[in-house]
Chain length 351, copies 2
């Protein structure tokens, strides 16, 4: 009411100071402190007026009448979106990231290392989704007969990753038939991405049926079983969950239990991370914004990571709402870029 424009420069400056202060101290911030800290040379009384306005707008909140103010989710959101001044990464941290994510033998190692780095350097929980298989190239496929119609399929992608599953075929194949099928599939599909393969399988099925080529038809049918859009759920690597047990925000056993249950169910976490795949760059969920009760008192700072300019996964940091966003955001950003680089297909190729 009083002020012409409620969210003026000054209020924002005060909100910024308040959030920064709360993040660093964890205590509700009073008008006295803000008066000294804001650099605005205002008396506590004035600040109290501003605070009342901010409270009306739902940006801050008073735990009880004689405590200072604490940012609400909207307050954090405004802070993160418009007020925050990111801090450059500590150079030691950068070194550690580079060191850890330099080229390794095994891609899965890189995922694990990234997760561990995220959690250890932030002292919160680190999470990295396994790269989506869709875009990777098929390199080799192999069938092994188990019993009757059960066949163990092994296929290798992107030079490193080995996948396997058991399929049930419609008819019984002899080992040599399986061998032939594998040879055939290897010869025509190697080097193509899995989506491309799935697509091609679909096309060629018709063609083979038309041409009445039984051998080819068998091979394609097995391929179809192998590459059918899988219930194969996405998965992630989570480390440093125990770091979360130190935070007073999560000292409540019930909350903590819900959170850890969500971690082991995985499902909610995966949904949440999936949403981040779409967005480029760093994305943040603050408190209840995520929509999952388990994360009510947590924030999630994520970034998608890409291999060859294609988004293949998401990584991030999970911590209490009250976290040092100005450090975490660049940290997550850079880790995502380095992980993408580490996963990039190596120039080396088979002799």
């Amino acid at each position: 009411m009083g002020t012409s424009q409620v969210l003026n420069e000054r209020s924002l400056q005060l909100l910024k100071t308040l959030v920064e202060r709360y993040i660093s101290d964890g205590q509700p911030v009073g008008s006295r402190v803000l008066s000294k800290d804001s650099g605005l040379n205002l008396s506590p009384a004035t600040i109290r007026n501003v605070m009342a306005d901010l409270e009306d707008l739902g940006l801050v909140h008073s735990p009880h009448t004689s405590a200072g103010r604490v940012p609400t989710v909207s307050g954090y959101r405004l802070f993160v979106d418009s007020l925050l001044t990111v801090k450059p990464l500590k150079s030691e941290d950068l070194t550690l990231l580079h060191q850890g994510l330099s080229v390794t033998d095994n891609n899965n190692d890189a995922i694990g290392v990234a997760s561990r780095l995220l959690s250890e350097l932030t002292r919160m929980a680190g999470v990295v989704t396994l790269p989506r298989r869709e875009m990777v190239c098929l390199r080799h496929i192999e069938f092994l007969p188990l019993s009757n119609t059960r066949v163990l399929v092994i296929f290798v992608t992107n030079e490193q990753e080995v996948h396997n599953k058991i399929i049930h075929t419609a008819k019984v194949f002899s080992p040599s038939e399986l061998q032939q099928a594998a040879n055939y599939l290897n010869s025509i599909y190697c080097g193509r991405s899995l989506v491309a393969v799935r697509q091609a399988v679909f096309e060629e099925l018709k063609e083979a049926q038309a041409r009445m080529n039984q051998g080819m038809l068998d091979a394609i049918k097995i391929a179809q079983l192998t590459f059918e859009r899988d219930n194969e759920k996405e998965d992630y690597v989570l480390t440093g969950e125990t770091n979360l047990m130190g935070f007073s925000e999560l000292a409540d056993m019930d909350r903590l239990k819900k959170l850890f249950e969500a971690f082991s169910q995985k499902q909610d976490v995966i949904h949440l991370l999936d949403q981040c795949m779409k967005a480029e760059g760093v994305q943040i969920f603050i408190g209840e914004e995520s929509g999952y009760q388990a994360f009510d008192h947590c924030s999630l700072v994520t970034s998608s990571y890409s291999v060859s300019d294609e988004v293949v996964g998401v990584l991030g940091v999970i911590g209490p709402t009250r976290m040092a966003y100005e450090k975490i955001i660049p940290f997550v950003d850079i880790t995502a870029k380095l992980l993408g680089a580490a996963l990039n297909p190596k120039s080396s190729s088979p002799s």
Copy 2:
């Protein structure tokens, strides 16, 4: 001093009642309660005397002067070793176990299912070590050239499990050389256990050297790299950790954190479970007995499980010291037997 023989029938009966009562109620047990519950028709005063004796022996302990008594670790131990009357499994639970552990496609599934059953039916944490690979049979081996001296080796054991690792060879192999080596190794080692293979590789290396058969020598050398005693650490599947967050014994955040850290480090847990491999049947660690601080307030009820009469792994339940041993013990016992059965090589074999 007073009584001729300190640990007479009567004291044991009282200890038993006390432990049972404490396990079911979680409250220190007073002399009044024991007087009514023990079935011995003794006055509280008499019981107080006995309690004083038991306390001198370190079997029970009084949290403070006007609380009842609580069993100590030694008290639990005596109870578990000599006083406990095991209860048969609830028939519903037995059904669920049978159902869950009936033959499945994938051994790893069985491990996961076992762990989940353990945790869900006991409402504590369930743990199952992955079966030791040593005794399983090699079924198929395959090499895939990556770059220069890097070779991806894939091998399948026991009809189901696929393992892969990247090895660095001394010289550069062509794809066809690798194919030959794989063929050779498949022809002579298939069906043998991994230990046997490792042993045989060692023998044949000499022989091949003597015979100066280069092709064979190459194959053997690759095999050596493949099967060398691995740093491949044992691993386990742990589920239901979050169940532990409900117990008041573990309400202390510091304790809980230590415990969960141990779970994610894995190392201590593995050591502990390893000790259980040696023992036949059910083995129990109560509180500090384990020797690992993280488990100070937990008990671990384990049993090894066997495939074809060979111990290959351990499973168990982790919970607070105050757990219903009389139910958990048979439960773990039976689960171990059923898991062993489920893992037994299926009669079915490739056509």
